[in-house]
Amino acid sequence: MADLTASGFSACPACDAAPLAQRLADRAEVAQGTVILSLPTAHCATCITDVETALTAHPGVRNARVNLTLRRVTVDAPGLAADDLIPVLAGVGYEAHELDPDALSATTADRQGRDLLMRIGVSGFAMMNIMILSVAVWSGAESATRDLFHWISGAIALPTVFFAGQPFFRSAWAAIRVGRLGMDVPISLALILASAISVYETMESGHHAYFDAAAMLCFFLLIGRYLDHRTRAIARSAAAELTALEVPRAALLLDGAEQTVPVASLRPGDLIRIRPGARVPADGQIVEGRSEIDRALLTGETLPVLAQPGQMLSAGEVNLTGPLTLRVTAAGRDSSLARLTALVEAAEAARGRYTSLAERASRAYSPSVHLMALCSFAGWIWATGDLRLAVNIAAAVLIVTCPCALGLAVPAVATAASGRLFRRGLLIKDGTALERLAEVDTVVFDKTGTLTLGRPTLVSADPLPTDLRPVARALAQASAHPLSLALAAALTDEPADLSEVTEHPGFGVSARWQGRLVRLGRADWLGVADHEDRPTSATWLAVEGQTPVRLEFTDELRPGAADCVARLRKAGLRVVLMSGDRPAAVADLAARLGIDDHRAAVDPQGKEAMVADLAAQGARVLMVGDGLNDTAALARAHSSISPASALDAARVASDMVLTGSDLVPVAEAVALARLATRRIRQNFAISIAYNIVAVPLAVAGMVTPLIAALAMSLSSITVTLNALRLRD
């Protein structure tokens, strides 16, 4: 089961780096006319009522149901689209985002969870009823009464084991067929042997029957299974939600008319329109329009690049100022995103498969349990020649050693720890992620978009004369360029009255102010020389007859970045900064955060090589990054985290996703992962301690069904309580 569920993420991050084609291939069945919206701010009863009332009052909506656990609302509204409903919710004060129903194929996971719950319910019922009868037997019921109770217990236990034990039988059979001994082989053996021997003992009117043990085994082991499943399902549905947030669409130009189509349906030769602020959906050549392009996610550069007809663009870049018309040269699996495929696959293979604590434990456990049961069987045959007694003792050994505690040891801790991290804003996508994170001793950060928000802010308005500030604000408001937005946000003056405002995509904005020409834009457009080696981005304001003014911008730090770095260093971890940006910008940020070890102008291959190099020196690297240029390094690193703002490909390649904008949870996660791993080891120690007491008794033939029941339930409960100490 573990392999099956994990493959959704980690088997091939590169496949997801190559766009979206396969996403359309495995479409889930979604009812026509159903819109699913994410409600990140909903949290209480009033929210539910507000949202449902507002939506049902909207004409065309048949039904709306909020799921507060998932923070989603499902709207049954034939003929309406998300764009019609989002303003309705915004009107009552709720932020809503469209979710791609195709990417949310959560229905299969739900069915699996319900199936497990049903088996838990059935085995719980059986266990309790058999226990009532067993208590009577333990307290001394004799002859005919005892036999009757055994028969009734058997009548309940046999169908229960048959029904509730199926997950174990199935996976044990799968393991045996490929010649392995999983955890489930001894479990299945214990279940079958316990039931068979109890039936025989009952027919022979014997003293001991293990029907209660069989039902109890099913119950506790299924709880472990369910916890495991739920942790994965929650992580998966949240990760699927992140993916679903980016509904992959492109504006296709057909005979001059714009048409919205799925990105996966683009073909080379298609003409597409890219609006300012939109991400380039496929590789292509600019046919028409002028603009600036933000390549931060692909290369880590913070400075926008000029784009004009004839130039090639790569998928993943962001168009900043003017609308562009693009002729698609490569789409889907052929695009430049897909070129990273080989790199990421190689990196994954180089990292190798991680063997989790649970796997290591079960590898030691299965053979030793089988061996012990076999030895006690052989020993008792040799000593007494009594086959019935020997089989009874072998069954007792199997039942007592059955890994109730072992089966709960890891999932109980993982559930508690991932629940706590989820509330702090960190999503765990991979089962072994916590254990790997606990071993980390070096943290490598990307700069743009990870330690910084990738969003410029004005360093200071001081160079700007007071009388020019209204002009600067008015010019800045005329453009959607990130630097303009930052400038407009930083100035508070009343905008000046301008005429003839024109945006020159790719260059800047010009206008007339009191009869004079005023311009805001690139240095080369205004005809001034800029100092390229400064750590900041810049734009210039030129007023006719006055010297142009240089306005400096710096990339804003992500909240908690300084705190996070300080905490990691305090915890004794080595912190490295690695970026594709210019040396001056990287050195400046490193100085601000107190990171001594920083490297600039590193290309994607370089990043991966550097991580591999660190690993070769014996370091366990945690890579934190968001861009396509980080993807290979993320896949190569021992453990990896990416922010939710990262590209799909980077998120898929990493083990954990940061859902909020704060970086502090990264430092907390490292501490919590170490604590969780310690708890898992403690749990193993507890269950081994129980076995050290119980196994000799079983081998000596002194275990009665009462002792088996006590050992089993006590160890399971201790382990669960120990795990619960992790909750906050």
Binding site: C44, A45, T46, I48, T49, T53, V66, N67, L68, T69, L70, D110, R114, L117, M118, G121, V122, F125, M128, N129, I132, L133, T145, L148, I152, I156
Partner: protein, 53 residues
């Protein structure tokens, strides 16, 4: 001891009733949104009459 012939079926019957109720709740998807259900009880929207389907 004759009481057993009544008590055992009764205890099994009660247990089975609980199991059937659990299975019904599971089948009708009442465990899909535990947090929402805990909050919905605070809303007085459908206090007077049940929500029409």
């Amino acid at each position: 001891m004759e009481m057993l012939s009544i008590l055992i079926p009764v205890s099994l019957g009660l247990g089975a009733a609980g199991l059937v109720a659990f299975i019904w709740a599971l089948r009708s998807r009442q465990f899909e949104d535990p947090k929402g259900d805990a909050e919905r009880i605070l809303s007085d929207k459908w206090d007077d009459r049940p929500k029409p389907d």
